[in-house]
């Protein structure tokens, strides 16, 4: 077996890909310029996203709660206004 076969496209981690795709590549000016937060930030965000589905589910539950409590506040406010107006 050649060394190439042994190494080619093996063990490529997420960091390897982001380290080249977000960091390098020929930059000629396009019409649209976007800035991507530093790759360490992006990568940390991704790791958080990928590593724990459980965290995501919890986050969703938390945001649902937040939503419903906001809704509750709004309803309370409306109720108060209605009371004041009468």
């Amino acid at each position: 077996m050649s060394y190439r076969q042994e190494f080619e496209n093996k063990d490529v981690a997420l960091i390897d890909i982001l380290d080249v795709v977000l960091d390098k590549g020929v930059a000629i000016q396009g019409d649209i310029l976007i800035s991507i937060a530093g790759i360490d930030l992006v990568y940390l965000d991704l790791r958080i996203l990928l590593s724990s589905v459980e965290t995501l589910v919890q986050a969703k539950q938390a945001s649902d709660r937040q939503l419903s409590s906001k809704q509750f506040d709004r309803e309370k406010e409306e109720l108060n206004r209605a009371i004041r107006e009468t």
Binding site: R4, E8, D16, V20, G30, I32, L46
Partner: protein, 267 residues
């Protein structure tokens, strides 16, 4: 609806006419990719709906890590495939033009540079190496083999118990310093050894453990451009370095061949 143009990369005329572009879906997973050929410049592109991908929309999208993950991978996979088929100048992720005229206006002045780059990159490959180090193993071996530390240890043995405590702490710091030095020296030596057979090299920033998610520390991150004919020799060198050093806690991680992300340049 108006279309924007997403540019993946540029390939040589003769190679693309010999082997037409395979069909695949573009960045939005709807429009098909195609080539625009003008005056011998062959750009691999796809269309994007303006409504979804204009600057403000794209800015929002890139703030979503999941979108970024998916699309950065898409960009990479397309370029990897192009790189397997053709010589390619890989563009940076999200290089987008308003329309074909605008793309052409940007590329036309670079015509000669593009031709030179494609010629230079032909039959060359980019390989990347990251060295990781097991800190515990390194500290042990530094403590066992470093002459300064050996001498210091002997000194300490003859001190009073109280001073021994303080001096041992200081010795620990010294071992840390020496280990750090050793990381730099070891990696630089490996790099130098590999550089000899390369057309070009570049040393990049190391990423910390939080980023890599590994237990061992990244102590070197570098990229190499090689003539295809030298790749076997280069990899065999890596292999023998791995065989020699893995036991001592040095992990040489090699990936490739990549499109020449770090070496292609049009400026």
């Amino acid at each position: 609806m108006d279309n924007l143009i997403y540019l993946y990369g540029i390939v040589p005329e003769n190679e693309i006419s010999a082997a037409p572009l395979p069909s695949f879906k573009g960045l939005d997973n709807e429009h098909a990719a195609y080539t625009i050929s003008i005056n011998g410049i062959n750009a691999v592109v796809c269309n994007l709906d303006e409504a979804g991908y204009k600057e403000t929309e794209l800015e929002k999208k890139t703030n979503d890590p999941q979108w970024l993950h998916e699309k950065a991978f898409h960009h990479h996979e397309v370029l990897l495939d192009l790189n397997n088929r053709y010589t390619v100048i890989p563009m940076k992720f999200c290089t987008i033009y308003e329309n074909a005229d605008s793309l052409w206006n940007k590329l036309e002045p670079l015509e000669q540079k593009i031709a030179e780059q494609l010629k230079w990159l032909k039959n060359k490959e980019e390989w990347n190496m990251k060295i990781y180090c097991d800190d515990e193993k390194l500290r042990e071996s530094v403590a066992a083999h470093n002459l300064t530390i050996e001498a210091k240890k002997k000194e300490i043995e003859e001190m009073s118990p109280g001073r021994q405590f303080l001096e041992k702490k200081r010795l620990d710091q010294l071992i840390d310093q020496e280990a750090l030095k050793e990381k730099e020296t070891f990696s630089a030596r490996v790099h130098e050894q590999l550089t000899e057979m390369c057309e070009d090299t570049s040393v990049k920033k190391n990423w910390n453990k939080k980023v890599t998610g590994r237990n061992d520390e990244m102590c070197w991150n570098s990229v190499y451009l090689l003539s295809t004919e030298n790749v076997e020799e280069y990899l065999s060198e890596i292999k023998s370095l791995q065989d020699k050093w893995t036991r001592d806690g040095w992990h040489l991680e090699i990936t490739g061949p990549w499109p020449a992300y770090h070496f292609a340049s049009l400026t």
